[in-house]
Symmetry: C2
Subunit: 325 residues, 2 copies
Amino acid sequence: MALSNGLEVQKEILHAEIKSFFDSAPPLKNSDDISGKLEGFVKKNSTPSESGGARRVVCVTSGGTTVPLEQRCVRYIDNFSSGHRGAASTEYFLKAGYAVIFLYRRGTCQPYCRSLPADPLLECFEYTDDSNINVCQSHSEAVRNAITRSHAAVAGGLLLKLPFTTIFEYLQMLQMIAFSIRSLGPHAILYLAAAVSDFYVPWKSMAEHKIQSGSGPLDMRLVQVPKMLLVLRKDWAPMAFCISFKLETDSKILLEKADMALKKYKVHMIVANELSTRKEEVVVVRRNEKISVRRNQSLGVDDVEKPLIDLIVGRHSAYLENPDL
Amino acid sequence: MALSNGLEVQKEILHAEIKSFFDSAPPLKNSDDISGKLEGFVKKNSTPSESGGARRVVCVTSGGTTVPLEQRCVRYIDNFSSGHRGAASTEYFLKAGYAVIFLYRRGTCQPYCRSLPADPLLECFEYTDDSNINVCQSHSEAVRNAITRSHAAVAGGLLLKLPFTTIFEYLQMLQMIAFSIRSLGPHAILYLAAAVSDFYVPWKSMAEHKIQSGSGPLDMRLVQVPKMLLVLRKDWAPMAFCISFKLETDSKILLEKADMALKKYKVHMIVANELSTRKEEVVVVRRNEKISVRRNQSLGVDDVEKPLIDLIVGRHSAYLENPDL
């Protein structure tokens, strides 16, 4: 009884923190546009296909969120993430027949664009003497794949791209997406690969103007971003198959932290990865299993995302059979 | 006497701080490659042209520097800057006959690419049914200009692009550039438009691993980046025409801060700009003049950088006539 009361109090505190975060966040500028797009996308993809079953839908989050340090933002804290994992995963989910809501940080890697150079326009193209545009031979396949596959997925209504920059935008948009995929029940996956800030400066306590560099050091106090994962899991989209990521730079604490997160947030799966080896190996952590997933070039497996998404699709199928397992 | 001793002591402290900054900074990975490129570029452009005079050379810095918060970097502080000003200025300097060393933040706006959409590859191109690549009509001129002009400037040896990310990379590269353009004397300009971090975490006091988000807030202490502008001006490239930028969000303190910076760092010109109006107006602040420079679309002046570079080229010509003025 005492324990359950303690949990209730904790839950109330968390809900109050989350409310305060959203109340104080600068409102999304284009929330009507986003709502409309989400509604259309979910509606289209929840209509049973000719083969009978409803299409599965996954929300892939990708890239890092920023934390502004000033209201008129000159400086901000950023989280390192190229968006490579999210882009690759999106490709494999699409290939497996899922419709994908790709919630990505502006400027990060896009699906089907992973093998392009840093500045495709200036590095892949040239004009011939007779003024025709030409794709350099070495990049021609990459450019063709990027453009045709990306356009086909978007035009076919299977890929909805939504960009964010700040932690405030990200969490508001994630909440909108979670609410909109609720109706899909267990057919939806939340695949939370974005690098989300743990600490932030509440909008109202933020300096209005640029912080001055007078004399002496700068002391900053950041507060924790309320942990929304539990609420996302339990309240926002309680039937969705929920996968969260854990990134550490210290391999010694990685699996322990993943286990803790699994228990604390009640997600269905944690993908644990270490910064220096994240492109080679991840560990899928579930209640009763830990599976190492590796890239294996000798077997023609070019990236770790392919076997990872294969595994997830299998576990999601099992979950659809029996969501209580 | 006491005053001059006081200044000497301050100067010694600054030199010690700068030495400590560079000693503790992670060394550039490709410094030999950068040195080689700079040497070739300066050599080529310091050979007198057929018309007699040596070519003028400008180093344009562009975009924001990052400050890593962890050695194995997951989080960092960033400075907002699209790189639009630096890219536009580079175009006008090239048009005025200057050779340009473009020291830019990876991923920011490139010269001749300002009018392109955010993701040119996916937004400007399509494949026709017979598998030929096609530039969408609405972007065809922008794409053609971006590719042909950019390639021509680089191929002609008039544009050298050098990318940076961290404050450590930026300041080491800026020093290398300043040393390499010394030989050009007053023919060189330093046009420092990059948004450079004022505060940083010294490499050696930085957390090795990802900062843990346990319980409670995160307190951070950042120390000031040593003000290298005075040393750049006086020691690194003492004859170069030196232009620094001052950005504020509060217009009330902008000109006062610009005046202070002019006196403190002994640069030849400060370009003062306010965040919200920076695309419309800047104020050129010199010892004996303050000139407001404005964009004026009705006169066919599409951006503020065109009149700004016109003004600078004129002042640089006067400086070449008489560097003591």
